[in-house]
């Protein structure tokens, strides 16, 4: 075989394999989404949003789990966002070239993909164990610890995109540094900062592992932050592994709800940052 033919052959084979890989990879993902929608929609009814998680064998919904997820995610984001924003601000505005920033950036990147179950163990050690019982607030703290790295990362990235000339202009007018950051840099990076928060919400709203032994679970409605609280992912975990058909159906429906919520948040975040890019 001539050199030319063998090169062409190798090329044809490699490109075919890439096509096969792409089709193979994408079809699994489509398959997952497909069966999720198929199984989840079957169980979708108003009762899902109005009734509590049922005991095995009876009908019910996911109301307390949905509410619990919302409460803990909100508190987690409310704690984690300011902390992450401030840290990100330091890294981009005050200590852009300092050693501290370099270290924090490295550590933050590791926290960003550290196993979330380890964060759960950490919160168990510092909150649940001393308190003596599981509580919604410790679940929220665990989620907050997962929010922080996401927000730090996006805040720093977005502030770094703000042109230095804008800061210089503000400083030249005599604006103090805090005002330059708050009134110029934050405003210019607003869409990006909101994107970061949305991504953080998307990240934590499906987290199960850190909630398993912090917030635990609760079969009933609870608004007490010092008591165990149900959350959608933990209920899905428990119901899916149960032998009861009703529970398994609810697990599928809950999984569909989470996926829709996460996808909606990510798409919103994407649309926001894309809008920003277009207005350049």
């Amino acid at each position: 075989m001539s050199l030319y033919a063998s090169r062409r052959g190798a090329n044809a084979m490699a490109t075919t394999l890439c096509w096969v890989a792409a089709v193979f990879g994408l079809s699994w993902l489509l398959l997952i989404l497909g069966s999720l929608v198929y199984e989840g929609v079957r169980g979708l009814s108003p009762a899902v949003f109005t009734e509590m998680t049922p005991p095995p064998g009876s009908k019910g919904g996911l109301l307390n789990a949905i509410a619990g997820s919302l409460v803990m995610t909100s508190i987690g984001v409310a704690i984690g966002t300011p902390l992450g924003m401030l840290a990100g601000t330091y890294m981009a505005e005050y200590g852009r070239y300092s050693k501290l920033t370099m270290i924090v950036r490295f550590i933050n990147d590791i926290l960003l993909s550290a196993p979330s179950i380890v964060i759960g163990l950490f919160v168990y050690e510092i909150l649940v164990h001393p308190m003596g019982h599981f509580s919604a607030i410790s679940g929220a703290v665990a989620l907050a610890l997962l929010v922080v790295p996401v927000v730090v990362r996006t805040t720093e990235d977005m502030l770094l995109l703000v042109p230095g000339s804008m800061r210089e202009a503000a400083s030249a007018l005599g604006a103090p540094r805090a005002h330059v950051v708050g009134k110029v840099a934050y405003r210019a990076a607003k869409a990006g900062l909101i994107t970061g928060v949305l991504l953080a919400v998307a990240r934590v709203s499906g987290e199960t592992a850190p909630l398993l032994f912090t917030a635990l679970n609760n079969q009933f409605w609870s608004s007490d932050l010092t008591a165990p609280m149900a959350s959608l992912p933990v209920v899905i975990f428990q119901f899916a592994l149960s032998p009861y058909k009703d529970w398994q159906q609810l697990a599928w429906t809950g999984a569909l709800l989470i996926t829709v919520a996460v996808l909606a948040l990510s798409i919103a975040a994407r649309a926001l940052s894309a809008g920003r890019r277009n207005s350049k």
Binding site: T15, F24, T101, V152, M166, V184, W252
Partner: protein, 345 residues
């Protein structure tokens, strides 16, 4: 960035808090007022600076806190079992005899299976997206993959339990068992009854889960290659494959490996996707079809039911081991990705 219009407005906004306001105040009253306002502004400035600095330090404290608390929590188990904990296969809550070997083995094996599938496929997808895909489809498919990378792992877990495991049990595993039944090494690899759940299934689910992750990072890395380099290769008549093989891959090697390590870090620490389908059996079996366990699955399954300090402590020590492993993998990954960023900058 922003158009000129809003930025000018913002600068005015910043101006009237400080300068304009200051001048008005100065003209209204004496110089004392002015210094007082200046002092206040300086104070606000300093406080804000220190607050942001403190927040940055808190990020370090979080990591330090995680390590310290895990070491503290696993201290009783460390004292009771010493280094034997790492090599012992025992896991008996009744006699309080614990060892991490089975869980570590399961974690490593499932991650290896996952990487063995996800890396070639992920690189294939990335190549497809950067070189082969029709332009109209590049963005939609790329975005879809990025979105899928953000789907919570529990979704993959529930799908694995209800859809993949029964399918493997009834169709794939019996075929594997009979196909490799007579081949020496493989017969023990694919031995035993087809449970559906087990190490192989868990590895496969992990592969599907890290696939979008690896694919999207590799694509980003591939896109850092300057077009001039590729065009030069095409210009001398290289085929698409040769451009990939001799230009793109050598240029991005460090970044691609970093991306894989990041995926590996995810696979090692992944909890929910694995817990559903691994079977939670504390033993090392030569068969990939047998149920096993991983570090994170063990913690997720047993932590809330652990009775006794030693049991809890042993589970926390497992968490510490997991954290140490992933820490090094992730640190290496970040280091490599940092190098490719510097290169492209």
């Amino acid at each position: 960035m922003l158009s000129i219009e809003p930025s000018r407005r913002e600068l005015n906004g910043a101006g009237d808090v400080s300068d304009v306001a200051l001048e008005q105040q100065a003209s209204r009253s004496d110089i004392m007022d002015r210094t007082r306002v200046l002092a206040r502004i300086a104070l606000v400035d300093r406080v804000f600076h220190q607050m942001t600095r403190a927040a940055a330090v808190v990020v370090l404290i979080i990591l330090g806190g995680v390590i310290v608390s895990l070491v503290h929590g696993s201290w009783p188990a460390m004292q009771a079992y010493g280094f034997g904990f790492l090599t012992s296969q025992a896991w008996n809550p009744v006699t309080e005899n614990f060892g991490a070997a089975a869980a570590i083995y399961g974690t490593l094996v499932t991650s290896i299976i996952a990487m063995a599938i996800a890396v070639p496929v992920g690189l294939g997808v990335a190549t497809f997206l950067t070189e082969l895909c029709p332009y109209a489809l590049r963005r939609p498919i790329g975005v879809a993959i990025e979105l899928l990378a953000g789907i919570p792992s529990i979704i993959y877990g529930i799908w694995g339990l209800f859809v993949l495991a029964p399918f493997l049990q009834s169709h794939v595993q019996p075929a594997l068992i009979s196909a490799f039944g007579d081949i020496p090494f493989f017969s023990s690899l694919f031995a035993g009854p087809p449970y559906g759940i087990g190490v192989l299934t868990a590895g496969f689910i992990l592969a599907i889960m890290v696939l979008p992750f690896i694919a999207s990072i590799s694509r980003d890395v591939f896109e850092t290659v300057p077009p001039v380099l590729k065009e030069a290769a095409w210009g001398i008549g290289a085929t698409t494959w040769e451009v990939m093989r001799y230009v793109v891959v050598p240029y991005t090697r460090v970044g691609v490996i970093g991306g894989m390590m990041l995926g590996l870090g995810r696979a090692l620490g992944e909890t929910m996707a694995v817990t559903f389908v691994i079977g939670n059996a504390h033993r090392i079996s030569s068969s990939l079809l047998a149920p096993g366990t991983t570090i994170s699955a063990t913690i997720a399954n047993e932590f809330t039911e652990a009775v006794g300090d030693l049991y809890t402590s042993a589970l926390i020590e497992l968490g510490l081991i997991l954290f140490v492993i992933t820490f090094f993998v992730l640190a290496l990954a970040r280091y490599m990705l940092m190098r490719i960023e510097q290169k492209s900058a």
